[in-house]
Amino acid sequence: MKRTYKNIYTWMLAAAVAFGLASCGDDFFDQQPSDGVDAGKALKNSSDLETARTGMYQALKGSSNFTDYYGAQMFLYGEMHGEDLQYNQNFGSNRAGFYYKMEYTSASSFSQSTAIWQSPYMVIGSANRIIEAADGGKLSDKTEAAAAIAQYRAEALVLRAMATFDLTRIYGKTYTEDNGASLGVPLVTKVLDSNEKPGRNTVAECYAQVIKDLKEAISSGALMTTSSKENVGYINLNAAKALLARVYLTKGDWADALSTAEDVIDNSGKQLWTRDQYVAAWGKDNRDHFNEMLFELSVTNTKDWNDRDGIAYLYAEDGDNGIGYSDVCATKNFVDLLAQDPADIRADVFLKATQDEGDKVFGGAKVYLNKMPGVGGDPRYANVPMLRLSEVYLTAAEAAFKSGDKAKAAQYLNDVIKNRTTDTSRLVTAADITAARISLERRKELVGEGQRFFDAIRNNETITRYTDDDHRGWHDVLTEEARSYNRDYYKSLPAIPSYETDANPTLKAQQNPGYGE
């Protein structure tokens, strides 16, 4: 019996000592997470750089938790402010109402999901890390994979320019208003430490950086040449040029806008969708799709989609057959406008409400935009169009017109018109072409692609949703100011969100006017 105790004691002590000693070393404490690697050691070669590139595009595309940029809000910002699409108050899910109703009064009205702020800077931050790693010369396969590294670097430059440009045209006064003298957004061109609190640069400084980045990427020769099924979803040379043309146009630099646009028109090998192709070509698997599509965000599965929070889902009807949130519909004015030319194919890119109740409200009109058609009826798998050739033509037309070359303006505008309608009376001539006519064509062609509001403030147009209650159409009851306004209305610029100004006192002191805390 005694012996048994002794044995028990020996074992117990041995166990205690073993348990204790095994636990003392650093091995016991070195616990590693299963989903990430130390940031300082993450970018070792071109393959890591490619993984970081995917992360950069992901920030541009967004996710169901980051809808504050091209996930949804960038489109809603450009469209809901305008007069052609509206928040569908009768059937929508409230996801598109923010920039439609314009009821925000203070910085705290803008949240992580509504303010277009965080995600663009995530794109810029990701781009800067790629650029820095490529420039650092420490990648292990920097010689063998030089071409790939240069390509990722050039794409990062383009996305950094795109995000900086978008932020500048949202938060800063439009360039043409004061030649970029007023405040834009903080420019970030290198990897910043997390505790830095940058202030705003001027709009002119922002544009200079954007143009510099785009020119550098274009002239690097490293970008893929053009859009195709194989390289869908990534920036290519034509996309970079089209973006640069958009930047020049917004800046009011007509000559450069025209030459850059013409470069794309002449050298891209792309051609406008014909009237017959137009409706179906929006489908990402359509054989004509890449004729016009220069850059789009690619969605392939349930991992990389934005689920029900993506813009395509908000545009789609929550109807009998399809799935969507019915958040956005055409305004009655826009439906009437399209109806003025019954031969215009663009009316067919809208769909009728399938639910009786909706159909009743809209009187049988086609109101649900179908530029991001569902795959197998499911819009969550739709690609998101970002840059198209027809915009480049319209840019060329407007830039030519404003530089005084009306013949060229008419030529480029007619290229678009004749591919959209069979009614030849709609064509223009050098004699009758007007800025308003170009603007009208732009509205009809680019509706839903997030450009309308920027075009309006750029051209100092007044946006009129409805004039009086008898002509309200399908609109919700809007405040007086929101019914009709132009860029002088303080809400034509949003507030920098309070989550930023609270964390960054530099920006708190540089808030856009008119807003409370």
Partner: protein, 1019 residues
Amino acid sequence: MVLAGLFLCIGVALAQTEISGTVVSADGGEPVVGASVLVVGTQMGTVTDIDGNFHLSVPEGKSQLRFQYVGLKTQIVPVKNGMRVVMKADAGSLDEVIVTGYGNFKKSSFTGAAASIDPGKLADVPVTSVQDKLAGSIPGVTVTSSSGAPGSVGSIRVRGMGSINAGNNPLYVIDGTPVISGDLSAAQSGYNESGTSALATLNSNDIESITVIKDAAAASLYGSRAANGVIVITTKSGKKGKTHVDFRSDWGFSNLAIDYRPMLGGDDRRALLSLGLKNFALYKKGMSEADAETFAKKNIENYAAKPTVGYDESGNPIQEWTDWKDLLFKTGHHQNYQVSLSGGSENTQFYTSLSYMKQTGITANQALERFTGNANLTHRFGHFTLNYSALFTKMNQQLANEGTSYASSIANYAFFQSPSSIAYLPDGSLASGAQTKSVVKINPLYEYEHSSDKSDIKRMLNSLRLDWNIWDALHLSEKVTYDYTSNTENILWDRYSNDGAPGAVMQRVVSDLSQLNGQTQLSYVKSFGLHNVDALLGYETEKYTYRYNYINGTDYPGDLYEFGNAGTTSAESNKSGYTLASWLGRVNYNYDNRYYAGVSYRRDGSSRLAKANRWGDFWSVSAAWRFGAEKFMEPVKHVLSDGKLRVSYGVNGTLPSNYYDYMSLYKFGRYYNGKSGMAIVGIGNPDLKWEKNRAFNVGLDLTFLDRISVTFDYYVRTTSDLIYDLPVSAVPGYFSGDSPYLPTSPKNVGSLRNNGYEVTITSNNIQTKDFSWTTSLNFGHNHNKLTKIYGDQDQIISGIRIHKVGEPYYSFYGYEYAGVDPATGKEAFYLNDGTADARKTTTDPSKAHKVIIGNHETSLEGGLSNNLTWKFIDFGLNFTFSLGGKAYDGATWQHNNGSYLFRGAVPAYYDINKTWKGPGDTSASQPVFQYGNTSENSSRWLMPTDYLRLKSLTLGLTAPGNWVSRFGLSKARFYFAASNLLTWKSKDLTVDPEMRVDGVCTFQTPALRTFTFGLELGF
């Protein structure tokens, strides 16, 4: 060194007689555990062990022993070896045993601040979770909940909040081992606010006692996790004697404890919205009175039409408002059965129990079903004592969406639905989607039929401990505990649901948590004449592992939702964990049971910190003087029976709540174009270190007339190196992987200070043969102050919340409401611009400045309980109360005096008679109700949280022993219990007064009022 010194002392013991004996209770002959045994005329004494046994050295010339135990009558008995003392029930003695997990102490010899729950209080009130037993029972302990759902996670705060990000939850210790606590929810998804409480896996009837350690003296021995107090739970164990069989069962039902967020009925709502439209036409569009009337009439049907519920015989529509409260809330039911067996022989004792509990919530799809089994075995052989305890729980929890989720019952009742939206079509079928005419196009009743969220939780808590009495009073013990919990949560949104259409979404989350804990302890407890020594050395390790597997299936062709049937599936998994190793030591010394001193030290090493900051040192010192035992107190002894002064000071800590916060990581899983990309998620801080918590406590224990005891404590608790997820600018491009996704960086910033006092007064008012009446009052106040944030930063604002230096942490930030502007009817705000104009008002919020408008701190909170017994009847009443606090109505969507309100429910606080009538109306107490109005966060939406609540009421009838023995029973008792029976609060407080800890209320399920009928049988 210390031990060596102690060994030397052994030889010098004085001449004395060693005696031993047993103490049992008159009621059933149960051993009395922890009774104090004192040699009369000295301060020498001991405490009875788990079998009621005691061993004591009686000095020569002393012949009497005094036996004391809480709830039993104190006796003085002549010394006799092998004596058996029978103690009778009596509430006259007020001493209690403090169980610290590192040793048990009589309260009279305890130098720290701690309190135990009266075990009697634990028995009757039917609560699913142990935490509910603590509410109102112990001063300085606040129990709150964000959900009334069965099995939901509550929050317990001991002496206020001492941390911001690192956690404020106390450490839970069961039978001496820290265990997994908090939320076991597998999905952690935010689909529901309730979560799955780890404490709900315990059968509260298996619990013998709960002790809350509040100060540093005892808590510092728990080191890096003790800053927020320690809750020590002791489970029941077997006692020597005949085998007892006890059966307990109860049944009952529950409903809402308060009139939660009252809403306007259909007619009132319609009238108010009509006015809103008219005002819009009048003041916004400048129409004439008559045109405005027409405008309102024309548009009101869009917002407040009376729904058609059916057709009469002649085909005319029957119209009725929808009563959503009636449709969404129901009566919850619960039932509970438990049987326990306990007993044992000289060397072997056991306690086992089995229980089954079932509870349904007050909204659809909320339920909990639980089976527990518990076995506790102690066996002695030679110098060894072996203890094995095993606890098994299987729990099925059904959860429903809460908060502002589209399918949440509460949010549908109080926000999304209105008397004009419909649940049923005229043909009687459930409406779905847009047919409901609600703002979110959801019919919750329809969604409940087509969605479910079910958790299947299994927990096993096993521990094995072997104690070796090496020599004399020197013990070595080794204990291994394995705590394992698995949770399989199935979340289904079927093909017809809003979230699942068209192909359904089925998600399965399988998570498991395991914690392996090893403890080695060397202890020495011995008295040398008047010197009493208690020393402990220990080494502990802990390893925690969390594994997470997730499967998602969509595109189902049919209604069988297993993953093999899905058209598309995806999966995710993750693994994380931490380790902790600790050395600890303690020496307590007292002289003559009058002068006490204690020292403790603990060194913790944690995997959650970078190598350089890994180890932390924690310690405490404490002392007490039992002046009641001094000679000079003899003259007042008949009034002041006993008295003790206690002081303690110590340092303990808090670990970062995240396991890898010190590392910046490129994380994968950033998907684009079919590939997994990476990005820097979160910002690491390699310099992160422990939060340090310094606690000072001074306490006074007094006993008057042997029947009234008063305990008073004052404390100061200072937390420095506070870990805070500091919001940083989004411009550098970092972000967080968790909601709200904004970039933050964990920093040891600033400090917090809590100070306050706690008072407990217990009185045995009447104590006769047939009638006894005990009253206990406890109350306390905690003042919390943020003393430093970071560098020059002196405030952090996040929406309505502000954390500002010099103010309580939970302060509210908004415009200061100045009433109704008589000219425009708009809300007016004080400018507060810091100039001479500060008290001028404006209706334009961009001109006004936000200020701190209040905070959530109470000036007094506590509880009052009364327990009465008369012959065979027992009766208990327990009130809780709180005074002086403020809450903020976080349902800001409803604050706009007419905007979202047009599409959903309208709170009853909008009163058409009180709104502004027109220009010049100076008597209006509410602003103009007008379509399109906007809302601002202002002091208008503060709510007083003052309340008095009848927390529990019990009434029991015990059948006399000679009656029940005829049926072979030793005990039969029938009882009725109610919880949250009555609540008195301000009408302005539209939510439950026991609310979220930060006082910002949105749509949390309020507390439940529960009625229970129970039966207790002993064989």
